[in-house]
Every structure is written in structure tokens, then in C-alpha cells.
Subunit: 297 residues, 4 copies
């Protein structure tokens, strides 16, 4: 069996290392990025670079997309020179962006009408995990397309999960997870300011809780950033975190789920952006928690 021909669209801090790993795994890879200079290193390593989404996918069996938001995905999929119109019959679009479940469902229907496949495949993990092929990937869509996709996700992930046929399901899980991370960040920010104003050392607390009750990566890594006030360069830009929180809010609204913690987060991110902090790491909401408590912030 010959290798599937791959297209990878969107070479940001997550997409770039994933495209590279597919290339290194031996797949023929065509890439596309809004700013084509991002593709240079991959081209040196053997990738082809296409001028448009349509051109990138014209010969591909499996197409990955990883872009900033719903609007960007819709543009490269449905816009002029978009990918959907150029997909080969039976090709698979593995959509890795963090988007609304509703958008995923709508796009999936449009793919189905053209007899091509849409699989939601959002990922958990930061750029270093992408480079190491250690992401957690959640898939949802038709079982056949998932089965064909799974081997290609192998070089990218430490674990894959099948969320079933609803193409929006994997996005629901991704949004749920990002909400939980954001809530853990706020929890630590409040907790460590509370401790600090009552005589404890935040760095020590982060170390203690990360080694006992909350001995898991989210609390360990983010706890350290918060305690040390290390918000730049950002691991995950606050403006993007805010986008995700708003996707949760929009989905909660559409499904009538009251979420008071989410409501606090919506306001935190609005305040951070209003104060000009959208380019810091999303843990920088801790600055406002501290400021509100009369600390330097």
C-alpha cells in the first residue's frame, strides 16, 4: 500500500511541528500557510508548498487544517480558492482547530454533500508536545474516515480518543478541557494571592500543591508560571485563550447551561484585553487577581 498523500494547512506554532512530524514519518506532504515564509524549513526538508488551499489539497488523500478560529477555517474551506471545492472524491479533512461544535457540524454536512469526509480532530498539548509527537488527539466523525485517519495521527500523539460519529463531539471535549484549564488557572491565581496576603510564599505553595493534591501537569506547569509571574513570551496567547472561553460561552448559551465559573473567566479575559494584555500568556489573568487584592500585580 502506498503512503497517503498529505496536505497540511496552517503552519502556526502548533501546525508547523505537526507537519514536520508527518514529513519525517515518510508521508509526502504539501503545505500551505497564509504567510508562505513559514513553510521554508519544511520545503527544505522535502515538503511541497502550495499557493492556495485549493492547490494544496488537489492531490491529497488526507488534509489537515490548524488555523486560528472559526472564521479562518471557513475562509480556507469555503472561500475563494478554498479547499472544499478542490478535494478529491473520498478525501478526508481532519480539522484540528479549536472551533465551535456547531461550526464543525455545519462543515461536516457540507463535506458530506460533496462526498468527502470531515473529521474533527482537535488536540490537547502545547507546541513542545506537538514537536515531540506527544499530543492527546480527540477524533469524531464517520468510523471509516476515523479508521483511515488514525495511522496518520500516530506520529503526532501519545493517545487518540474516538468520540463517535457526531462531528461536533471532539470539539465539545476540546472546549470542555480548555474551560477546565482556564478554571484551574483562575483557581490557582486566587489561591496563591490569598496565601500570599496571609503570609505564605506563592512559589512554595505552587510546589507543594503540584506535588500533593494536584500532582498533574496543568497545576504544575501553570502553577509555576503564576507563582513566578512569568507571562512573556506567551506559551498560549491570552487573546487565543479568550477566544476559546468565548466559544465555550457561545456553546453554553446555545445549550442553555449556566456556568458561573465560566462567567468569571469571561470577565477576566475581557479585563486583560481591555488593559492591553492580549499578547501575554493566558495565565496573566493572575496579574488582575493580584492587583485587585492590592498587590503589585
Amino acid at each position: 500500500m502506498s503512503a497517503e498523500r498529505v496536505a497540511y494547512l496552517g503552519l502556526g506554532s502548533m501546525g508547523l511541528p505537526m507537519a514536520r512530524r508527518l514529513l519525517e514519518a515518510g508521508y509526502p506532504v504539501t503545505v500551505w500557510n497564509r504567510h508562505p515564509d513559514k513553510a521554508a524549513a519544511l520545503v527544505s526538508a522535502g515538503a511541497h508548498c502550495a499557493a492556495t488551499p485549493a492547490e494544496a489539497v488537489a492531490a491529497a488523500d488526507v488534509i489537515f487544517t490548524m488555523v486560528a478560529d472559526d472564521a479562518a477555517l471557513e475562509t480556507i474551506t469555503l472561500g475563494e480558492q478554498g479547499l472544499l471545492g478542490a478535494m478529491r472524491p473520498g478525501a478526508i479533512h481532519a480539522s484540528m482547530s479549536t472551533i465551535l461544535p456547531a461550526t464543525a457540524r455545519r462543515l461536516a454536512a457540507l463535506h458530506q454533500a460533496r462526498e468527502v469526509h470531515y473529521v474533527a480532530a482537535p488536540v490537547f498539548g502545547r507546541p513542545d508536545a506537538a514537536a515531540a509527537g506527544r499530543l492527546w488527539i480527540c477524533r469524531s466523525g464517520s468510523p471509516e474516515a476515523q479508521a483511515r485517519l488514525a495511522p496518520l495521527l500516530g506520529p503526532l500523539s501519545q493517545r487518540q480518543e474516538d468520540l463517535g460519529e457526531d462531528p461536533g463531539a471532539a470539539n465539545v471535549l476540546k472546549l470542555t478541557g480548555n474551560f477546565m484549564i482556564a478554571a484551574a488557572i483562575e483557581t490557582m491565581a486566587e489561591a496563591y494571592v490569598f496565601g500570599e496576603k496571609n503570609g505564605l510564599d506563592p512559589a512554595w505553595m505552587a510546589e507543594f500543591f503540584g506535588g500533593t493534591l494536584f500532582a498533574c501537569p496543568i497545576y504544575q506547569n501553570y502553577g509555576r508560571f503564576i507563582a513566578e509571574g512569568r507571562f512573556s513570551p506567551p506559551g498560549f496567547r491570552l487573546a487565543l485563550g479568550r477566544k476559546d472561553v468565548q466559544l465555550v460561552a457561545e456553546t453554553a448559551r446555545a445549550s442553555d447551561v449556566p456556568m458561573p465559573f465560566l462567567a468569571t473567566l469571561v470577565n477576566r479575559y475581557a479585563a486583560r484585553v481591555a488593559k492591553g494584555g492580549g499578547d501575554l500568556d493566558w495565565t496573566s489573568i493572575a496579574l488582575d487577581v493580584a492587583y485587585d487584592a492590592g498587590l503589585d500585580g
Copy 2:
């Protein structure tokens, strides 16, 4: 050197297994409990049972107390037949209850005035961890008293932390930790209802997140309770959890720390108690999250 003589006051679900472990470790133990029938098994195993706090501590070198709240601790310490007036010179009172840091500081000063020692020694862990000697114990108070106390905490704990001389410090840490646990519970409750109303299975989500992003005991254990709706018999009564959350609120007020997540929790627990749910497990706030979203609850 002969073994320290121990008194253990307060034989609830946490105190009882700790007293037993001290006895099994070879310490001579005198116990006291408001309802003396709780002492029977320990007496069979060799403990003495005293009729009053004062009698219990009269010959003790190290006194442990583990009671429900600040008021109970003040009563057995300062009330009629209270322990403080009966302590031997140089004896140590290791106070394990979850109380206000301010109460700890006040009691410590009263002990110092009588030339006896007060060490705050609150614990993290549930009754099964107490029975297994696997608690995490945080100590604060004078270095000398802590040094004498440490060996006796050995049979009770997997880890001890020295929080320094401020007798309130260990209580600050304990309250911080309980706030973080309560916030994690609310986070999961919101997250899993959000997922459920958007097509995912809560039990599967709890398993997934407990095995990936949040692979730590708090998320694993409480996540399971929430997903399965297992709220009775309670591991930790909601009424007690509410007490702790109110201690955090009182300390946050006294130190001027705005905490929006805490504010949500204050209301959650009030609602649960108002609806008659104080005797369920404290994860049962998930019932109200579900009910508010139109699920059975």
C-alpha cells in the same frame, strides 16, 4: 529516652484512626471524646479514656486535638475543664482541626502566656488516608516544638511540611487547599454538565480528563463521584465543606482579597444547605449545577 505520653481529643472519622495509629506505634495514649462511646475500641486496644479534656491532658507531653470547628476547639481548650489550664509545663498542643488562622494565632498566644506550646498541624487526606498513615501534614509554630512533634507525626503521614513560626500559617495553607479542591469540584460539575448537554458522557469525560490533563487524585476521585452521582454516604459532609469555605471567606475578608470563584462557592453551599442537602458529600453541589441546566439533578 522514654516515649512521649500522648493525649488525643476528638475521635471523629479523622481523629479515631489517628489515635489508633499512635497507639499502635507504641505511644501511651489517653483519649477524650464528647461522646465517650467512640473511645471503646481504643480502650480495648490499650488506651485510657478521660472524662474531661483537662483530665485527658494532665499527664500528657503531647496533646492532639481534632474537632469540628473553631468554637469546639475553643470550648475544649478554654472552657470549663478545658485543656489549657491543665497542661504540664512545656507540653505541646498539636491542633489538627481546620480553623481560622486568626483563631490559631490567638490560641497560640494564650498557650505562650502559660509557657506551653501550640503547634498548628492541620492535615490533608480523607479517613482512609488517616487509617493508612498517609496524610499530608502541615506544621507551624516554634521550631523546638515542631522538632519534638515531628516523630509523633511520622506514623500518621506520608509527608510533613514546616510552614515556619507563624502559628496561623499551616491553617492558611489548609484553607487554601480546601478552596482549591472545592473549586476543582465546581469546575468539574460545570464542565461535565456542559459536556453532557452537548452530547458527551460524563463518566467518560471524568475518565478521560483524570487520565490526561488532570491525572491527579482530586480530579480522579471527585470526578468519579460527580459523574456517577454518588453523593451518599458522604466522604466529607457538605455542611463541613461549607464551614471551610466560610473560613476562607472570613479570612479573605479580613485580608481584603477579592475571590470571585470563592464567591460562587459560598452561594453554591448556601443553596445546597437551604435545600436540605447538608449531609450529602460535598461534591453534591453538582446536583444544583445539573438542575440549573435543566437536567434531572
Copy 3:
């Protein structure tokens, strides 16, 4: 000078009495409604009834629209047989619906491109005030168009306000006002449950505060509804109130304004709708406040 020819599109509980007053004031009125049977009484009184928005406005100098939401307004304006394509040169579209300021600005630009006028003219007041010509009307848009519009608003209003040239400005004010009303409702709901659980009579409290500190219509009228638990038939359907609150939330997000009270309201309305209460009056959030406090609700 001959009378301006008027078209009125949208004959709901607010539009119908306004169209009638314009007719009674002597203006020639053509009406349109999605369900044409609503027009019958007006036709008996001398109005013409058109089959489509385009037909309704074809001969009109001033066009009023009052529909449920942004989507409905866009449909009757820009959709097939929409009004915009059929407006006479120089005609004025007075848009009375509660919509996003951003929608108003976009529609205004589209009108300007066709050399017709868009004036935002949202109203404060309930159906009885509309029937009595006692609304408060806020206008924004070009001064010339406002000047021509003002006399026609006379029979509808006790007061008109000029908000300037930004076509979104009047909608900002309308959303601000609806937020303030919703917040007053929540305030009273919390206050009167607080009082009730501490021994006071809610009806007496509503009377007292409505006669002293808060002697204004919002507190007097809504306070009575809340205290008496009179939520049906609705004066203003909760589902519509929720729509407005979401418009505020969307505008707050776009302008980066953290609003904690708004966040509470977003959750309240989500809960009410999740529990099937979208058709009650929007004061019925008081049911959930009461229920959370252990009252019948």
C-alpha cells in the same frame, strides 16, 4: 404640505399599537406582518396591508420596523422581497427593534449606499405605554433624517432623545437600559428572598421600597410582580429578555467591558430557559432565586 406616507412592518404587541396611533394621527399607513391576520383590525380602521416588505414600502416616505431580533430585521430588510431594495429615494427607515449597535451600523451603511436613510429609534415602554403614546424614544442617525422623523414620533412618545449621528448610539442606550432593568429585577429578587427568609413580607417590602428609596416605575411595577409571583401572562417574555441580555453580552465582549452583574444575569436566563420557563414574564428569574434559597419557588 401633504402628510408623509407611512409603512409599518412588524405588528407584534408593540408594533400594533404604534401603527394604530399613526393611523389615528391621520397618516396614510401601509402595514405588513409575517402573519397577516394581525393586520385585520388596522385594515378595518383604514390601513392598507401589503403582501411583502418590498410592497409595503414601495410608496412610503417613512418606514417603521419593529421585529423580534437582528436576524428578523436583516431578513425583512435585505432578504428576498426585502424593504431596502424597494425604498424610494430619500425615504427613511426608522428601526425600532432592540438589536445590536453593530447591526444598526452595518444596516445604516447599506442604506447610505443606496441613498436612503436609516435612523435607529428603539423605544422604552411596554405595550400599554405604546397604546397610550407614552413611550420614550431614542433616535440616532443623520440630523436631517431625525428632523423629518421627529413629528411622526410625536403621537407615539412622551419624550424623544437625540443621540447624535452614530446610528448605533440609540441601540447602545436601549441595551444599557434593558440591562439596568434586568439588574433591578435580580436585585429585588435577591433582596425580597433575603427579607422573606429573615421574617419580612415581600409584598410589604416591595411597597415600602417602591414608596421611598426606589419610588420609580421599574421598582414599583416589577417589585409588585416579584412579590406576588405574578409571572403569567408575561408582560415581556423571558426569552426576549434573554435575547436582550445576550445582545448586551455580545456588545460588552466586542468592546472589552467586564460586567459581573451582567454575567449573573446571563446565567439566570439560561437556567430559566433550561427549565422550560422562556414564556413566563422575565421577572420569573425570581423563581430560581427563591428555589435556591429553599423556598417554594
Copy 4:
């Protein structure tokens, strides 16, 4: 019948003008204040000045107290040289301070045990209303004592309300009212920042809403302060407003009433005090609302 002999204890910005009005109404008045220099003007006008609470009330038929908080009231009532031990049989203590209903009930029982009367008589209104005898006064306690008290409240108030026999009832109403005022302030702060960031003028908005939907003193007066940023000198110090909000929170906790708006206020006041703003007017929470939205604040 000869005039009742009056004692007035607590000559702050509210107590002083009330004592003066009683004097001007012809009652023989003995005053006491922690800082006796405050009494000078009243003594010039014919009042006696006592050295202790006990001395002040020794000959009095009706005793008014107006002090900062529960602790101050307990000290002057029950402390050394406190008033309760010195009251004449059958004398009435009219307690005007804003305190916990629970404190009122406890003090009432202690008065009853000594066969003297305790009537709760908290007031609504600011110092200018006190000086003009235009307060709203709420009374609760035994009907006989209320009946004897009512004529003396005449020169102080535009309206009296009988809240029944529960001595805590009037305090419940007072706390309810202060919560409602604080919530109206937060509502306006959020609303006017929302409007401002979307192009409207806050002063104009305050004028508009104060003249239409919210044409009542609270919105008119406080709205003007907020819109103009006039926070100093304070009409009502934020630190005192915070005290009141905490009394509501404590009473809500004791009666199991979840109050999300209250929770927001608790955090607002904590932040203001943490930032050193306790001496500004309590409308100055608007500074933080503005700052969070990226405005100057």
C-alpha cells in the same frame, strides 16, 4: 404630662443632627460621645454632656444610640460603664445603628431580662436628611415601647414604619435596603462604563435614566456622583458601606440565602479597600469598574 428625658449616645455625622433636632423639639437631652469634643455645640444649645454611657442614661426615659458597628454598640451597652446596667426601670433603648438582626435580638433579650425595652430603629437617609428631619425610620420591638417612642421620632423623620415585634426585623429591612442601594450603584457603574466604551456620555446617561426609567433619588443622586467621578469628600464612606454589605453577607449565610449580586459586591468592596480606597465615597467602586474596562478609572 412632662416631656420624656432623652439621652443620645453617638454623635457622628448622623447622630449629631438627630440629637440637635430632639433638643430643638424641646426634649431635655443628655449626650455622650467617645470623643466628647463633638458634644460642644449641643452643650451650647442646652444639652448636658455625660462622661460615660452609664451616666448619660441614668436619668433618661428614652435612650438613642447611633454608633459605627455591632462591636461599638455592644461595648457602650454591655461594657464597663455601659448603658444597660444603668437604665431606669421601664426605660427604652432605641437602637439606630446598622447592625446584625442577630445582635439586635440578643441585645433585646438582655434588655428584657432587666425589664427595660429595646427597640430597633435604624434609619434611611444621609446627614442632610437627618438635619432636615426627613429620615425614613423603621421600628421593631414591643408595641408599647414603639408607641411611646413614636412621638420622639416625629421630629427626626418624614415617615415611620412599624415592622412588628421581632426586634431584628427593622435591621433586616435596613440591611435589605442598603444591599439594594449598593446593587444600584454597581448596576449604574457597569451600565455607564458599557455606554461610555460604546460612545455615549455617562453624565448624559445618568441624567436620562434618572429622568425616565429610574426617576428616584438613589439613581439620580448616586448616578450623578458616578458619572462625574465625585468620590471625595465621601457622603458615606466606603469602609462603612463595606461593613453593611458584610452584615448582609453574614445574615445571608446564617439564613442560607444564595445572593450572586451580593457576592459581586463583597468582592468589589474588598478590592477597593485593598487598594487603599476605604475613605472615598462608596460609589467609588465605579473606579474599579472603569479600570477593569481599560478606562482611566
